[in-house]
């Protein structure tokens, strides 16, 4: 059993973060349906409190070690040796913070947009928050799976109930794609559990050695779940539909946190538990990543729907993330993790922005816009920041992430690096063209009478702007969290399966 740092904050911080929103959702049940104002304020309060509680993670985290911190451990189902164990390391911590922040913005952006079944909407939102945080905190594979799947229920409702015209199709597609992937992973989890002497403990599982053939099978079983979530080419087709049809808050959650879970899954499970298979499968993963980068980008050029365009850009950007992860070197991995955060911030912000203008015009067609810059100058300037960050302009966060990934990718395979770099050019193409069509050119009469952003909307976007420049100018605040954990992970990937058998052989030799 590896060393862990137990939580020394005096209260179970991770459990609080998971269950405070869930308890908030339960309390929402008691508020009468007609008091919508109270429901909104209460949800906002819960999400802000959750965010404040998550701040000590940021300040108290020990960056000098890779071991799990803030660990909580309780017996849960002793018959199957399943424990309720939570903890964070440098890979997962940023996502917890991102989740708690993004939910506040989701509440704010939905303030006036959600008009039907308000109560159910905020209940679903809070349950999603609890489950998301649970996914990133779980140190028990079974617990992880519970949160991973439990999130499907509220997400399905968010898309299907409050989404656009084609929402039912999108919601069912989202649910079925994810479920098929997840159940295959479940079989993999059970096989792993039985092979390793009935333990679901992630730390313990990542320290064992598994036969190569088994690793390969498990790798593809996990791949089924994680690749769908990322989403990697060719199982990405649910994403444009889900993103497009979801309400703004749903799109933001999908873009900012939910699709990060797939990449997180690769980092937390595939790489450390199955190092040999991961190494062996690197070429395949790199090809899929590069295809996603270029294919996603080219498809963007043909989109006429604002949200669909951003959705396909997510496919392209997540291609960068998986490329970085499977470069299997320090730059690639750190770039990949940072780019996950960046993509969450930038794409989240873009969806928030689209939501702001959609609330006014109720159209997502790019052709219905034009000349918005002269009508909404403040909005236009913020949108330009997000556009440039999405392209990866230096001094924005996108640059740091993509630079590290291309560096890592180039080190691992020159062609991957070169091809990925072309993806950035395509990205500049579709984003700038989008900006031009929406904000410049002749003012479309449909947008002529729009008023600029109000205070609530500015507050919603402001944190994203701050983070874009913070990471862009001084990334070390965030990279500092992951150095040790990433080093440890790379150690494991490169040496895993080598030490183990040697020791085993020695023991067998001694016994003979």
């Amino acid at each position: 059993m590896e060393q862990v740092m137990t939580n020394s904050l005096g209260f179970p911080i991770l459990s609080t973060l998971i269950f405070l929103p869930v308890a908030g959702a339960a309390l929402l049940l008691l508020i009468p349906r007609s008091r919508e104002g109270l429901i909104r304020v209460f949800t906002l309060l819960i999400s802000v409190i959750t965010f404040i509680i998550s701040l000590p993670l940021f300040t108290q985290f020990d960056k000098s070690t890779h071991i799990m911190q803030f660990v909580e451990r309780r017996q849960w189902i002793p018959a199957w040796n399943i424990n309720y164990s939570l903890g964070l390391d440098g890979i997962s911590i940023l996502f917890v913070l991102l989740s708690t922040l993004v939910i506040i913005l989701c509440v704010l952006i939905s303030w006036n947009a959600i008009k039907t079944k308000t109560k159910e909407f905020y209940i679903a939102l809070l349950i999603v928050e609890g489950a998301m945080i649970g996914v990133f905190c779980a140190l028990d594979f079974f617990l992880f799976y519970i949160f991973w799947e439990a999130m499907l229920i509220p997400m399905y409702l968010l898309i299907g109930v409050w989404g656009g015209p084609n929402r039912v199709y999108a919601a069912v597609k989202f649910f079925l794609y994810t479920l098929v992937g997840s159940v295959l992973m479940l079989v993999g989890i059970i096989v792993l559990y039985l092979y390793s002497g009935k333990t679901f403990d992630i730390i313990e599982l990542s320290n064992r050695v598994y036969p190569y053939g088994m690793q390969l099978w498990l790798f593809w079983a996990f791949f089924a779940a994680f690749a769908v979530k990322v989403p990697m080419f060719p199982v990405h087709t649910w994403l444009p539909d889900a993103h497009t049809e979801a309400p703004t808050a749903g799109s933001v959650i999908l873009a900012a946190v939910l699709i990060k879970m797939g990449a997180y899954g690769f980092l937390r499970f595939s790489l450390p538990i199955l190092p040999e298979a991961s190494r062996a499968m690197t070429p395949a993963m790199m090809v899929l990543s590069v295809v996603a980068i270029i294919y996603g980008g080219v498809i963007c050029l043909a989109q006429t729907d604002l949200k669909r365009l951003i959705a396909y850009s997510s496919v392209s950007h997540m291609g960068f993330v998986t490329l970085g992860i499977f470069a299997l070197n320090i730059q690639g991995l750190e770039g990949g993790i940072l780019q996950m955060v960046n993509h969450g911030i930038v794409t989240g912000a873009l969806f928030l922005s689209v939501g702001i203008i959609y609330d006014r015009t109720h159209t997502r067609q790019i052709a219905d816009y034009g000349g918005v810059a002269s009508v909404m100058p403040l909005y236009a300037s913020l949108f330009s920041v997000f556009t440039l960050a999405s392209i990866g302009l230096p001094s924005t966060n996108g640059f740091i992430g993509e630079f590290l990934i291309i560096l890592g990718g180039f080190t691992a395979n020159q062609w991957a690096g070169v091809l990925a770099a072309t993806g950035i050019i395509i990205g500049a193409g579709y984003m700038l063209w989008l900006y031009q069509r929406v904000f410049f050119m002749e003012t479309n009469p449909k947008v002529a009478a729009l008023h600029d952003m109000d205070m609530r909307e500015i507050i919603t976007l402001l944190p994203m702007v701050v983070l874009i420049f913070w990471i862009g100018i001084y990334p070390d605040t965030f990279l500092g969290f992951m150095h040790k954990s990433v080093e440890h992970l790379i150690d494991r990937v490169n040496t895993g399966g080598v030490h183990g058998p040697t020791i085993a052989r020695t023991i067998i030799g001694v016994m003979k």
Binding site: I77, A79, I146, A150, V168, V183, L184, V187, I190
Partner: protein
């Protein structure tokens, strides 16, 4: 010849159950309020449940076994009675069949199930099975003026009679081969005389499997299920989908893993295709249903397929997972049927899937209950349905049937489509007409119990799992 009185204490629950069932049946003569009879029947089964604890033992020369295994199943039967009665009280009034015999028959049927669970002998097994089945046939046709209910009863009866014949044929073959009908003696005889590869024994085994497959509604012996489930009074559909199925699994486990364990290599290849077909047909045909009772009938077929995985595993864990699953299935399925019954009002059947359109708007609480039951039937955590499936899958993989489990999880993902369709109708469509619902305190209680069961076992499965695990000797 000296007559020794056998030890009757293991039989105590069954004896008390018989007495109380008759009392409930006779009370119909003097008690005019049928609700009182309903209450009496609940009190009776609870009283019986209290005798489980110190009834452990084997009696009548091993013909009757009362152990942890049978007791666990009997708990499921008791639960089944309580929940069925709670959802019936108002409903049978609406269907205009508010007769006292209804409760008596439920109790007799349950007595049959209890005897099945405890059977240590093929003859005792047959006795219990017939008592259960005959009472259920009548219950299925309880709405006498309704053609569909009559159809349900006659189909169930005819095919059930076939199943009984198969069972008897199998029993007689086994008796011919081994000279005994006692389960333990059969196992001993097979091992001692090396009968393992005997074709006649294999044939007998196949006959028994066919008979049990009828009872648990496994494909290709499921033909009666959709019609019987659709036509029977909804409360009885709920009762049938849990009780006889659980009893079927109880005897299946006892016979296959006890008497016929020596020929496990012969029965596993028979059961695996049955399980795969059951999951496949159940889940795929359910997709195209427009009547929710028929849909749940196919769903119940599919769930029998999942549960068969535990029997196929053929280990103590496998059996425990089947027991665990049946308990969980009782909660989630009766819960779903409770919601269906609430939509039945005077002059409105409420069993079409389209009747659920916009239910979340008109009756948000009922819709939320249904949502939980549907997700539980799909097997999405944190509901009990997931824990049940997980245990089944785990024990099957542990026994080396990973490929069967892969097929099972794929079908399980397919099943999400039709369960989610109900959720979709409730939450994502606008109500066309205002659907009235029937409420009553007893219905509320039933919903509360089932919901609590689904959520509690989903979040804290340890107590039930432990109970199932220690139950197996």
């Amino acid at each position: 010849m000296q007559f020794m009185m056998p030890d009757l204490s293991p039989l105590r629950p069954e004896i008390i159950m018989t007495v109380l069932s008759m009392a409930v049946l006779l009370s119909d003569l003097v008690i005019k309020r049928k609700e009182t009879i309903a209450l009496l029947s609940i009190v009776s089964v609870v009283a019986v449940a209290f005798t489980f604890k110190d009834s452990l033992g084997i009696t009548f020369n091993g013909m009757f076994i009362s152990d942890g295994y049978s007791t666990f199943f009997k708990l499921i039967f008791v639960l089944n009675v309580i929940l069925t009665v709670l959802i019936s009280i108002k409903y049978i009034g609406i269907e205009k069949v508010n007769f006292g015999e209804y409760y008596g028959l439920i109790l007799f049927s349950t007595l049959g199930m209890m005897i099945m669970a405890s059977a240590g002998d093929l003859i005792v097994l047959y006795l219990g099975l017939e008592l259960m089945a005959l009472s259920t046939y009548i219950l299925a046709g309880f709405i006498r003026y309704d053609v569909k209910s009559n159809e349900a009863a006659i189909k169930y009866f005819l095919l059930g009679a076939f199943a009984s014949a198969f069972l008897l044929y199998g029993t007689s073959l086994i008796y011919g081969l081994t000279g005994t009908t006692n389960l333990r003696a059969i196992a001993d005889y097979i091992t001692q005389h090396g009968l393992a590869g005997n074709p006649a024994l294999t044939l007998a085994m196949v006959f028994l499997v066919v008979a049990f497959s009828f009872k648990i509604a496994a494909v290709p012996f499921h033909m009666w299920t959709p019609d019987a489930y659709e036509g029977a009074p909804t409360s009885i559909t709920a009762f049938m989908s849990v009780g006889p199925k659980a009893a079927g699994f109880a005897v299946m486990g006892r016979v296959l893993l006890y008497a016929l364990y020596p020929i496990k290599p012969q029965w596993t290849p028979v059961l695996i295709p049955i399980a795969i077909l059951t999951m496949g047909v159940g889940n795929i045909v359910a997709i195209s249903q427009t009547n929710i009772k028929r849909m749940l009938a196919y769903s119940s077929i599919a769930h029998a397929g999942y549960a068969l995985l535990g029997i196929i595993a053929g280990t103590a864990d496998g059996l425990a997972s089947v027991m665990n699953y049946m308990m969980i299935y009782a909660f989630m399925n009766i819960g779903a049927f409770a919601v269906i019954i609430m939509l039945r009002t005077e002059g409105f059947k409420g069993d079409n899937i389209t009747d659920y359109e916009g239910l979340s708007k008109t009756h948000p609480l009922i819709a939320a209950f249904m949502l939980v039951f549907m997700f539980s039937l799909t097997g999405i955590p944190p509901t009990a349905g997931f824990m049940g499936k997980f245990y089944l899958f785990m024990s099957a993989i542990n026994a080396g049937y990973t490929w069967v489990v892969v097929i099972a999880v794929i079908f399980s993902a397919i099943s999400a489509y039709f369960y989610l369709r109900i959720v979709m109708y409730m939450y994502m469509k606008e109500p066309k007409e205002t659907v009235a619902i029937t409420t009553s305190p007893s219905m509320g209680l039933a919903l509360a119990i089932t919901l609590a069961g689904v959520i509690l076992i989903g979040v804290l499965p340890a107590p039930v799992v432990n109970l199932a695990r220690i139950a197996f000797p």
